[in-house]
Amino acid sequence: MGPLMKRIAAKASALKIPLNAHLDVTWKCNERCIHCYVDHGAGGDMSTGEIKSLLDQLAAAGTLFLTISGGEIMLRKDIFEIAACARSLRFDVKLKTNGILIGEREAARFGCLGVREADISIYSWRPEIHDAITLTPGSLARSIAAILHLRSQGIRTKIRTPIMKDTAADYPGIQALADELGVMVRFDLTIAPRLDGDRTPLELGVSSDALKGIFRDRRIAVNVEEVCAAPPPLDAQVLSEQLCGAGHAGVYITPQGDVAPCVQFPMVCGSLRRNTFAEIWRGPRFLRIREMRLRDLPVCSTCSNAPICSRCPGLAYLESGDFRGISSLDCKKSLARTGIATPPMRSHGAAPPLAAPDCTGVRHGGG
């Protein structure tokens, strides 16, 4: 994020303006990715009229950056009407899609509408691996074709790759594929529990050893020294920081019109079928999230890795139902980055116990 974007985001956060909105228009999908967190069978998607009304409300609330996602967005017959409405309201529109229904004609329509960005999910550069994750034969070839179609329309197209246990060796190949296609790539180490709390997808996440290597791989890490540095002191300033941008300058809306702080923090704060967006955004559940600071977290506020931790309140919420709790995935990441297994991490089973008590002469519980 550049300095101007940082300033704008901080200003929006201070003013409580939902600058970034992530809208899932459907959870239906034409792939069956093994790690996916949404319920493809959930019905009750908002109608075209409901979505247009929402877009009006988001524009009035100050949203500029709109991500249209799913499920698979192309399964909505009104997707171009939604995109056109968003553009007429001068949103900056980004699409998240698997691309397999985006041919030359569809890409041209999005290009004409002024869609600026599109993210396409690619899991491996090897068809047999990618297609085994999507459970959809031929999907890699079609996603790559969509990348080329979108790019030819001047749409800034990006590959998004969650790195998983079975694809941990593939990311250099994906980087090479992105270079060949002339697009950017963004790797993600987070595999989230399903929105219903089912933790099965977590088993697909990369191992701690693999994480250590990835954080130190100069082919993809921008600044290894910074990412893997020892944490600065856990002082009063750090403890007074907000948890993240979710609910401050960011918001998530489900296909059914439920409003939550973030796609990864699906704590429903209200329904657009009962209240206006402004009422929900100013309502008590969002206020509670906004008031929360690191010092209010019973475990994380005592962890010396906290100043560098990417702790996600949403992952904590999905893990225990309490967004003030720990996110063991983020504990694993901070351990991989710093190499420091802190006592709070050990006592909550988020880091292995000390191997030999006589190393320190102190007994540590948990583990």
Binding site: L4, L64, F65, D92, V93, G114
Partner: protein, 98 residues
């Protein structure tokens, strides 16, 4: 003095954030912010109102500046935005973009 007409490009995203205008260019993904006076000109750039009228009604009236000096600054500002592709400029009224 020949007046000019200005219209916001359709190839942008834009939103007011308090007194400033945040603009994203679709052309090259550049982010711009316009301050109070710039945001006033941007908001009034409907393609039909001459720049002189915009300066008189939206700048001189609100920021206590002389018309001639303000017009010169506003014209330079508009030409700079045009070079970035986020504003259209013409010596004739501009039809709304499709």
């Amino acid at each position: 003095m020949n007046d000019i007409y200005i219209a916001r490009s359709s190839a942008v995203a834009a939103r007011a954030l308090e007194e400033e205008m945040v603009i994203m260019s679709m052309r090259d993904s550049t982010l711009f912010t316009l301050n109070g006076a710039g945001a006033e000109i941007w908001s009034a750039a409907d393609g039909r109102t001459p720049l002189g009228e915009i300066v008189r009604d939206n700048i001189c009236a609100k920021f206590e500046v002389e018309q001639d000096a303000a017009y010169a600054d506003a014209e330079a500002f508009c030409r700079a935005l045009t070079e970035h592709g986020i504003l259209r400029l013409s010596d004739q009224p501009i039809e709304p973009a499709g």
